[in-house]
């Protein structure tokens, strides 16, 4: 005791973070709701089921191609509610601002929050602001909490069955590469824009089209690889995904080749992984394709009985390999 310190890796969304959550936070603070470890907690108030979530944004730089810290805070919170089958309603914002920040920057972020919340159909109903001495935070950090009303019940890992299809709504890793290339000043032949977007409208369409959606998750920190590992973590099933079918835009592929990243581990901020009964998979993909945020939707894999608690990737060359959860941190402050 005493010597261990928090490392950047503890915030990566990978194994170290999960261990810390389990062995400290859930051990000390856990209850029957938080132990489910969903993107939002589902709570009963009166006879209503409410989804409740919180998230903090420390992205660096605060403006990046395709978004900024303000829109990201709204989209992230909206998406955490939406993937739980909730209609996002209200959001709170807590801002921690570094002394000396240009007022114009704060105005730009506020305008972006306004536009993003309007687009998402969520109301900012309360907030808080603290200013700290120069150097005590980096420009601005935002915490947001949101609540939504549950309109689709039964989204849970408990409902997953072997044979279920796994669908994604578009290319992976764009948010991470957009932030990284802006931060490091690296340009690729085709500029990569963040995929940050509110998914609530798309998800409503999906849930209207099929009553057999088992589960949805947004692959943020740790990327698709980590999220899929989380889905089968309890050991009842495995996941098989096909490398060929996973959409990766050219700029993301180039960046990954150059910098040695695997796109499967890169954060997305406007993507959703949907586990749905096999028979409804095509229908769901077709509905998604009609929405601007689901134009590149496709089935990328399925739930399998074999390889329990593992994610297996069929490589484009016909080989097979394990895709483990992220360990360690390569890209801090991506959201």
């Amino acid at each position: 005791m005493g010597k261990e310190k928090i490392l950047l890796s503890h915030g990566s969304g990978g194994k170290l973070m999960h261990n810390l959550i389990d062995t400290l936070f859930l051990k000390e603070l856990g209850n029957e709701i938080s132990r489910k470890k969903n993107d939002s907690a589902v709570i009963n108030i009166g006879n209503k089921k409410i989804a409740f979530t919180t998230d903090s944004y420390v992205v660096n730089p605060i403006f990046f191609p395709g978004g900024d810290i303000g829109s990201l805070a709204i989209h992230g919170t909206v998406n955490d509610l939406a993937v739980c089958g909730a209609r996002p309603l209200y959001i709170s914002l807590g801002m921690i601002i570094e002394e000396g920040l240009d007022m114009d920057i704060l105005k730009r972020i506020t305008a972006s929050i306004k536009a993003a919340s309007k687009r998402s159909g969520i109301k900012v109903v309360t907030g808080d602001m603290k200013v700290v001495e120069k150097g005590s935070c980096d420009k601005i950090f935002i915490n947001s909490s949101g609540i939504g009303e549950l309109y689709y019940r039964g989204l849970s890992t408990d409902n997953i069955k072997a044979g279920d299809a796994i669908i994604i709504n578009g290319g992976i890793g764009e948010h991470a590469i957009s932030v990284l290339s802006k931060r490091e000043g690296i340009r690729f032949s085709s500029a990569v824009k963040s995929d940050s977007a509110p998914l609530s409208a798309l998800i409503t369409k999906i849930l209207k089209a099929s009553g057999k959606v088992r589960l949805m998750r947004d692959p943020t920190r740790g990327g698709v690889a980590t999220t899929l590992n989380e889905i089968v973590k309890d050991g009842k099933f495995g996941v098989s995904i096909d490398e060929k079918s996973i959409p990766v835009k050219r700029g993301v592929r180039e960046a990954c080749e150059l910098l040695g990243f695997d796109p499967l581990y890169l954060a997305c901020e406007g993507r959703v992984l949907i586990v749905v009964a096999k028979e409804d998979a095509k229908k769901v993909v077709n509905v998604m394709k009609k929405d601007a945020l689901g134009r590149d939707a496709r089935i990328i894999g399925r739930i399998i009985k074999e390889h329990k608690a593992r994610v297996c990737l069929n490589t484009s060359l016909g080989g097979r390999r394990i895709v483990d959860m992220l360990s360690g941190e390569q890209l801090p402050r991506i959201c």
Binding site: L8, N19, E257, G260, G318, D324
Partner: protein, 363 residues
């Protein structure tokens, strides 16, 4: 993506794999060492072993710069990072590598200013922008990296950037292979040589392998098709020679400008390879007339006696004598979250490849 997609084309890959299977002599055993860590990673990533007949055995070699960096180097970097006003600039790969007592990742959490860079030139930029600080770049890598590091030292001299220095842990490839073939621990029939090292040094420095030691060698690229084509060239090589498969980037004589920069800045000296030991002439130290930029001379790091974990068999893994599956620590005490040896952390490490792509060695 041009220059990548073509080399991952399934139809072509299947064709070469079929040819390998048909020309490989069934009564013969082919022991091939892929020297470079990037080869190892891609062999696993693309599942290439599955495409080869069982009498072609691939062994991983010592070509992962992070893996062969001794604990002593990390210990020195940590000591330097503890000095007031020092910024340590490093490639991301070194960040989580354990030294004898700590890692840069842990020291960063404790207050040390460690910054990840993609090039030594970025480190030089940090020095330019922070004239009141001392910037120490951790120079690790083979001939692929050392020319750019030499270039950044030359640039620092030219631009009179006095607050920039390099802790050189640079190593050279041919000398390591000489030491490997001299030791009789392994029956290596042929080598897949690292293509990017030869972009700089060409093929001449390897000629002793075919002439004196009768080893068949192919300088290979890194994409799946490159690797398979190189294996095909290797098993069909009539008599021991150094052939180049990676002709689209590597010429016979390498890059003389890059070599001149290296020769200007570095001297060859014996160097310690982690788990392997000291190898004559295999290290690059900064020449005396550039000692202003030599972190070793400028700060004289004072470190406690370095120690290695006794159970770690990285040395044998790096020489192809054992695989990570032979290690008692692998997947248990040693995993990517708590690495015992650098082979588990480096993106080119053999243990990392086994762990990542074979699922803790069970796959």
């Amino acid at each position: 993506m041009k220059y990548v997609d073509e080399y991952r084309n399934k139809r072509l890959i299947d064709k070469v794999a079929r040819e390998i299977r048909s020309v490989a002599d069934k009564g013969r055993f082919y022991n091939i060492m892929e020297v470079c860590g990037t080869h190892t990673m891609n062999i696993f990533r693309f599942g290439l072993r599955d495409l080869l007949p069982s009498n072609i055995r691939l062994m991983s070699g010592p070509g992962c710069p992070v893996c062969v960096t001794p604990n002593e180097f990390i210990d020195k970097a940590i000591w330097l990072g503890g000095l007031k006003g020092v910024i340590i600039a490093t490639f991301g790969d070194m960040f989580r590598v354990p030294g004898s007592y700590s890692s840069l990742e842990k020291e960063k959490a404790a207050g040390c200013d460690v910054r990840m860079v993609y090039s030594s030139m970025d480190a030089l930029d940090i020095a330019r922008k922070n004239p009141e600080r001392e910037v120490v770049f951790l120079g690790v890598g083979f001939e692929t990296t050392s020319p750019t590091v030499a270039q950044s030292i030359l640039a620092a001299r030219k631009d009179e950037i006095g607050n920039f220095s390099v802790l050189s842990g640079h190593k050279t490839m041919p000398e390591a292979l000489r030491s490997l073939v001299r030791g009789s621990r392994l029956n290596i029939g042929g080598f897949l040589l690292p293509g990017h090292v030869s972009v700089i040094i060409g093929k001449r420095p390897y000629e002793f392998l075919s002439k004196s030691y009768k080893k068949r060698c192919v300088i290979a690229g890194f994409e799946p098709l490159d690797i398979l084509e190189a294996i095909l060239m290797l098993i069909t090589q009539k008599r021991p020679a150094i052939e180049i498969q990676y002709t689209r980037v590597t010429g016979k004589s390498g890059n003389p400008i890059a070599r001149r920069a290296m020769e200007k800045v570095f001297d060859k000296k014996a160097s310690l390879w982690r788990g392997i030991g000291k190898i004559k002439d295999s290290g690059l130290v900064i020449k005396d007339n550039f000692s202003d930029f030599d972190a070793e001379k400028r700060f004289s790091p004072k470190i406690k006696r370095p120690k290695e974990n006794k159970g770690c068999i990285c040395g044998d893994v790096l020489q192809g004598v054992k695989t990570p599956l032979d290690c008692g620590l692998f997947g248990k005490a040693c995993n990517p979250e708590n690495p015992v040896g650098s082979c588990m952390v480096s993106t080119e490490g053999t243990c990392a490849a086994y762990y990542k792509y074979r699922g803790k060695g069970n796959g």
